[in-house]
Symmetry: C2
Subunit: 300 residues, 2 copies
């Protein structure tokens, strides 16, 4: 595991450098919004999505520069979704990863615009990659940009946010199907996008891209259920956040619906499925396999 | 003028049909957000941006279907910006065009997401047009999508919104340069995008696209100053909204900075510049010329 953690750290630092290189300079009359956007993207996080994208790309090989703009675009979309999720009218969170959230620092109006600005910049970055591609790469880049837009949109991540809000409004009376929908969309969709875009830009064939999509969905769902388990059994000091918040907020989770034991089994099952599919892909899958185990077995 | 108004009505109805054809079906678990998005786009308005885009395209000619997704995408971006502008933390408007605004009908959280959903769908629509283009059209469509992203983003419309909010926060103490920046970006950028994308998809050369850009900027600025004039001299019954609101809100406008007479002269000057540039473009510019006059000389 020590070797893995070192390998993960190297990849996280590389992903960080790539993502930050696509952020705007904090200048001009619109300086304030660039500060708010950069503040949020620079707020840390695992950089999981760009790492997954680059690793999926590496399974197939190719010039790595071609995937960089898509790595940055995906992380910008993740960041914008957090800014808007934290707003008072949404989850009303003042803290994220130990720092004041965007609207606390920059005001609520600026936080709405900073989210809009990041979503727009994500597509600006992806579309520039399409427009600037060599003629033989253009169709491939356009396909990657399509996946980005679909997975980020109403049939993807935003759809999951909507279902989540609606479930909260009606008092969390929901069934397993609704919970699965929320998890697959809200967390899973961007992980699917990460792996699929990596594959597409690496010239994976359609069957391989579909395989990457399934892996993303399963890992995303397992990751989310693990989060729900940790909210019950976790160590506050290790997690860096209070446990028991789901129960306190009467939040519907896989654990509250099916119990801890079934939740643990489900994580193992999803993880096994992801691993089997992964073994059918070309290239060296060692790191990705270890990363999936790490994400799913983590204690923090 | 009667012939023009009929011609405008025909074009507005056509633009309306095209835009609406790209809206999502109100179904699935994410139904509520589709309702909120469609409610806002269907809320009327002049459909000025898609009309301008199609007319610019027609100057150069070509299969009109190719411009349709970009017309819809631009109008979606306009609509999302209005949803977010109307939010309580922004302009806090309960009414737009005589109807309750999105957050009043669907709640504030859903309005944030509906705006996000429309911005995302706009790019999904534009990128699909790139991805689905014939190989010989793909580079052109990618260039059009780039312009869309740039003009909608922080160096375009969002930048204008940011400057506007900052001006309000600091009590509207601003100079002519700041006012010009806000007007050119907040209103002008999407009008520039409309005309430029029309030209690009119609195979206009770079010089012609730059000409279209300048025309968009001037007409947008003139349109805005005309708005400011009407807020002082307009007829409430004709306008369908109360006059004097800029003065009441201590809002900085061209009129408050330079007076009514200078404002009238500036509109005439900008309109003259736009007309001269327009006369240098190919095709039948009669309708566009009349449309610019109508926008700039309007009483409502």
């Amino acid at each position: 595991m020590e070797g893995f953690e070192k390998a993960l750290q190297i990849r996280a630092e590389q992903a960080e450098r790539i993502v930050l290189s696509y952020l705007p300079a904090e200048e001009g009359r619109e300086k304030k919004i660039y500060e708010a956007m950069n503040y949020s993207v620079k707020g840390g996080g695992k950089r999981l999505r760009p790492i997954l994208m680059l690793e999926a790309f590496r399974l197939f090989g190719g010039e790595e520069e071609k995937i960089h703009p898509f790595m940055a675009a995906l992380e910008m979309i993740h960041s914008y979704s957090l800014i808007h999720d934290d707003l008072p009218e949404m989850d009303n969170d003042d803290l994220r990863r130990g720092r004041a959230t965007c609207h606390v620092v920059f005001g609520q109006a600026m936080a709405v615009l900073a989210g809009d600005g990041l979503l727009n910049l994500a597509f600006e970055t992806a579309i520039s990659a399409v427009s600037g591609a060599e003629p033989e790469d253009m169709a491939k880049a356009a396909k990657a940009a399509c996946v980005l837009a679909q997975k980020a949109g109403c049939s993807g991540m935003i759809g999951g946010q909507v279902a989540d809000i609606e479930a909260e409004e009606k008092g969390n009376i929901a069934d397993d199907g609704e919970l699965l929908f929320i998890q697959e969309k809200k967390t899973g969709a961007l992980l699917e996008a990460a792996l699929m875009i990596g594959g597409i830009m690496g010239d994976a064939d359609d069957e391989q891209v579909q395989r990457l999509k399934r892996i993303g969905r399963w890992v995303g769902t397992a990751f989310q259920i693990r989060d729900d388990i940790l909210d019950v059994t976790g160590d506050e000091a290790q997690l860096g956040k209070p446990i028991g918040s789901d129960e306190k907020n009467d939040k519907l989770t896989y654990v509250s619906l099916h119990g801890l034991e079934a939740a643990g089994k489900r994580v193992a099952q999803l993880s096994g499925q992801a691993e089997r599919e992964l073994s059918l892909l070309p290239g060296d899958t060692t790191f990705l396999k270890a990363l999936f185990s790490y994400l799913i077995e983590r204690n923090k």
